[in-house]
Symmetry: C2
Subunit: 249 residues, 2 copies
């Protein structure tokens, strides 16, 4: 096994609607003197993808409906924000202690449908990309074309989790990498057959990138080199557990 | 920000009861030509800590009780294994689709109370350390004393999670590192105050280590260098969400 390296990529400017994320990343990599290699993974925070795709909403433009107003009052939140949260959700999974946990249209279960007021202008909120796997595919195609390297792309967001405090960065979109690395049917060195072992490498890569970028510095991109993963285009969406297998519905 | 590096540490021999994990690690590091530095994090898989602490049970020595036999039949599992799972649990959180999710005595919610038959002799199962934070403190003390460096220790296990397929490695014990890196009260560059942002850096470090070690190779230890974290001794156990705040009980 070889070492894994995570490089924070500095020098990405403020991203506006229509920005070409791939170009911004390649320029920043070049400025940092980093040359991408085959199997490098470019990890991008959802926020800049959302901004480039125009998924930014002025809160003053939002008219909260009855359900949003009721839920907002219950949980002590801004009703306009709750209207956005419900608009992005297919269902509310839990609400309590000022937290609204929803299932998003992409199938992710997270706080506030990923709607977020941090790292955006005051009075605005960002929404998750409509299809972050498609965003990852588009960005990847450009990165590969222009660099001549076969690299992978992971788009991340910061999710909480039940039972454990704190949050970790996880993948909401990916391309050129299979989300799970399956060990099913493989045997350990005692001959025991692993039946359920499928590390969610995209999520571990997302978390590793977060360690190098942090939350406050203007570093929305990291390069992860040396991680073991399988190629594929299942997308991060394939991580969502099907209704009928979900023990926590 | 500087890069984060994850070195898989090869050359740890089979660990037996009573083994001095710290010595085995220092020897392997030295063989690998790696000199530890202040703020390095040594990440250790639970399995070798459990083995060193004698937390290995011969399945033939286990007599399943009524509850275990009933649950085993329901979920298609070995009743002896289920007896061990229940013995390590304070409650069964969910059971279905052949999966038993419990809350362990340490307060972790995970599959099978962390009882596992992989990477151990046939006919045996390993249990989680009784107090993995204490295990981490003991190992850390020796590592720091003998190396003269102020390093941190994280003990990991592989946990599934609700709603998302696959597993990630997370911390079950830690020392010399605070599990969360709090951004509470800090402002982003737009002046927005972050109120809930507390990355679970120990879990992200655990996942990053998994990327470098994998599941099949005999590499139960990794060194993570360059991650930002706070010093402290709250232990991984402090990650468990209190009953009254738990939206998913």
């Amino acid at each position: 096994m070889s070492k894994v390296e995570v490089f924070p990529i500095e020098g990405i400017p403020e991203v506006r609607q229509g920005a070409d994320i791939a170009s911004l990343i390649l320029r920043a990599l070049s400025k940092a003197g980093l040359r991408v290699r085959d199997r490098d993974v470019i990890v991008i925070k959802q926020k800049i993808v959302s901004k480039a795709e125009g998924r930014v909403v002025k809160l003053d433009s939002v008219k909260p409906g009855d359900e949003a107003s009721r839920l907002a009052q219950q949980q002590g939140k801004d009703p306009r924000l709750v209207e956005l949260i419900l608009g992005e959700a297919v269902r509310v999974v839990r609400a309590g202690h000022g937290v609204i946990i929803t299932e998003t249209k992409q199938g992710y279960v997270c706080a506030n449908s990923g709607v977020d007021r941090s790292n955006v202008k005051d009075g605005y909120a960002t929404l998750l990309p409509i299809d972050a796997d498609a965003s990852a595919r588009r960005i990847r195609r450009k990165l590969c074309d222009r660099s001549g390297r076969d690299i992978a792309v992971v788009i991340t967001d910061t999710f909480g989790r039940p039972w454990r405090k704190g949050q970790t960065d996880v993948a909401v979109g990916c391309s050129g990498i299979q989300p799970l690395l399956s060990y099913r049917g493989k045997k350990d060195r005692y001959g025991y057959e692993l039946r359920v072992t499928e590390p969610a490498v995209v999520d571990e890569i997302a978390g590793a990138a977060e360690l190098a970028t942090g939350k406050l510095t203007r570093i929305p991109v990291a390069l992860v080199r040396g991680a073991k993963f399988a190629r594929g285009e299942k997308g991060a969406r394939s991580l969502a557990i099907e209704k009928e297998k979900d023990l926590f519905r």
